[in-house]
Amino acid sequence: MSRKKLTRRQFVAATAMSSAALITAPYVRGAYAAGKLSIGFWDHWVPGANQASTDLVNEWAAKEKVEVSIDYITSNNKKIELTAAAEAQAKSGHDILQMPSWWPHAYSENLEPLNDVMEPLIKQNGEVNGTVKYLAQSGGKWLAVPATPGSQIKGPCTRIDLMKKFANIDVQEMYPAGSPPKADNWTMDTFLKAAEACQKGGFPFGIGLGETTDSVDTAGAIFQSFGAELVNAKGDITIKTDQVRQAMEYYKKLIAFLPPDAPSWDDASNNKWLISGRGALIMNPPSAWAVAKRDAPQVAEQCWTHGFPAGPKGRFAPFLPYFWGVWSFGKNKEAAKSLLVHLSSPAAIEKFVAVSGGYDLPAYANLTKLKTWAEEGPPKGTLFHYPDPYRQQTLSIAASPAPPKIAQQIYFQATLTKMALRFARGETLEQSLAWAEGECEGFMRS
């Protein structure tokens, strides 16, 4: 068998020809030329809302030639938190993971800085509120991008008829659809009187005193409206102050007008309370109203979502944002950033809001007057004031402004509701404050 020997001259010629062919040939991009991207999204409770996310992602993927895979992860029983913890430990997992409020700080060391995404988005969509900055910024570095799906304000959802009948308050007049609120008299004192009147009328306000987020968020906003901070921004414990004492006294009075089993409430209890027609007010995003629209239309027709009452230090509303984070160990970070820009475009945000029936809230200032909130009903305009279109409230999160890693523990250990409940159940104010101080000292671990 003869074997042809490749000469040096032949080798050089062949190499030159193939290089020339490669350079001059047209660039043919493969179907998935830009690689793969794996995404973990929060599994939306509104039917069809996940499909909107899938469509938006596919639309982007087709344009960018990226092969995408999406997992919808339920927030039930903290599945998202567990996923985040597991992926951060394993340094492997999705490229983009949607995470609840406190998690960007919790995993700040594992998240890719997103300043190059956030800065143009703020220019495009308007400024983000202080809570988003507090939760997603660290040392000038953006840790995550605020996600519209799942983000929510937990303001009052009031029964129009019951509030008028028992407390003589017309919530529609106070928060008229399509125009600015006339809520100067909607203060913590008015709120307390209304709570008492409705309780005496047999329809108590449905505010939980448990350890889940709805209970904690309400307590957080009330404490903040009194200027009460358990730990300040510098990380000093500031429990034994007049503001905290004032907030505790107020909460004790309020607890007397709440349902007796409120200490055992979880995040579903207040929804059930409203839908069953047993209460005049709950603190919730419009999910309870949306379920009532399906299961108890006569209740839904009487619901009006509006702003929080103001305290001595201002009007605070609990805002609970979700975030999209990009893991620093992700394999396709550039594609991930490009997708986040796409999902944060005004058109995408409008779609998210529309498919969720107005539940999802963008964090950007220019996007609080979308038509979904003006048109949803019945009654028409019931959600108009849900996104705080006239920026009358300070959107805040319980336990802020404590450094987020401390605040997260105050939040999840429900220190605010627990200390208020202890006081209401017979401990002296000083005993409850001392207990909370001990708890906060424990949260200072680094």
């Binding site: 430990q89 406190w102 200490p263 055992s264 409430w265 069953s276 523990q409 627990k418 949260f443």
Partner: protein, 312 residues
Amino acid sequence: MADVVVEQGRIARATGARKGSSLRNTLGRKSTVAFLLTLPLILLIALLVLYPAFFSLYLATLNKAMTKFVGLGNFTFLFKRETFWMVVKQSCIFAITAVIFKALIGFIVAHFVHNIPGKKQRKWRGMLLVPWVIPPAMSTLAWLWLFDPSYSAFNYTLSYFGVGPIPWLGETFWARFSVILVNVWYGAPFFLIMYLAALKSVPDQLYEAAAIDGANWWQKIWYVTLPMMRNIIAITTLFSLIVTFANFDIVRILTSGGPLDTTHLFATWAFQVGIQSSDIPLGACVSLFMVPILAVAAIFILRDVSKRGNEA
């Protein structure tokens, strides 16, 4: 020189033969076969139990940010926390009360079932095992609806008798009562089936002899049944104590540890501290604290069992 070579060859051959036969002997031994047969399970346990156990030991020695070794620092920190000691107390109350009631109910019902004749007994046995075979997360959800603040079926029924409404999950006493009740409901069938098996193995002659001696039903139970069932009672109690101490789902679903942390157990508090508050090392520490408590219980119970075994 040649002699030496031959000698060496002979020696080598002899050693080889001995080696071969000893390998054959080793493989032929019953204990080796048993070991090889259990090897897959041992590997599985090593992977799914030992590795996580040692990993959690390692985690428990890190600081909150998991960047520094702190030795026993997390444990000393826990010892100073009021909530931790409350959780220790509650876990003991929960586990001991639940195990006592499960054992008592299991023992009584096992006697009833034992006295039901033939086919009927099979039906009853099947029905009584239902709570144990339903996944606890599912059955606990059903219990949650029964205790629900707004729609409680119990309160609805009690209202016809002018009682209540009872804050089943809102007050410490009732909340503890509720979580223990659900645990007893779920776990009693396990005791029932174990005790029933033990009852069936007690020879009838012993009862006949006791009857001839004039023993009444209580004396038969005290002097015949209980001594015959002692080992099974001890093992079942130990096993149940371990499982009940480590319970998570019932408390997590019913109360999430509330009100005011008064129903938290080691596992639920570890979850709250470790996962929800992002303090994984402290969470690992809390869950590891079960080990010494259960180890002490295991030593006492198993020592008792083996002592009786030796006596027999």
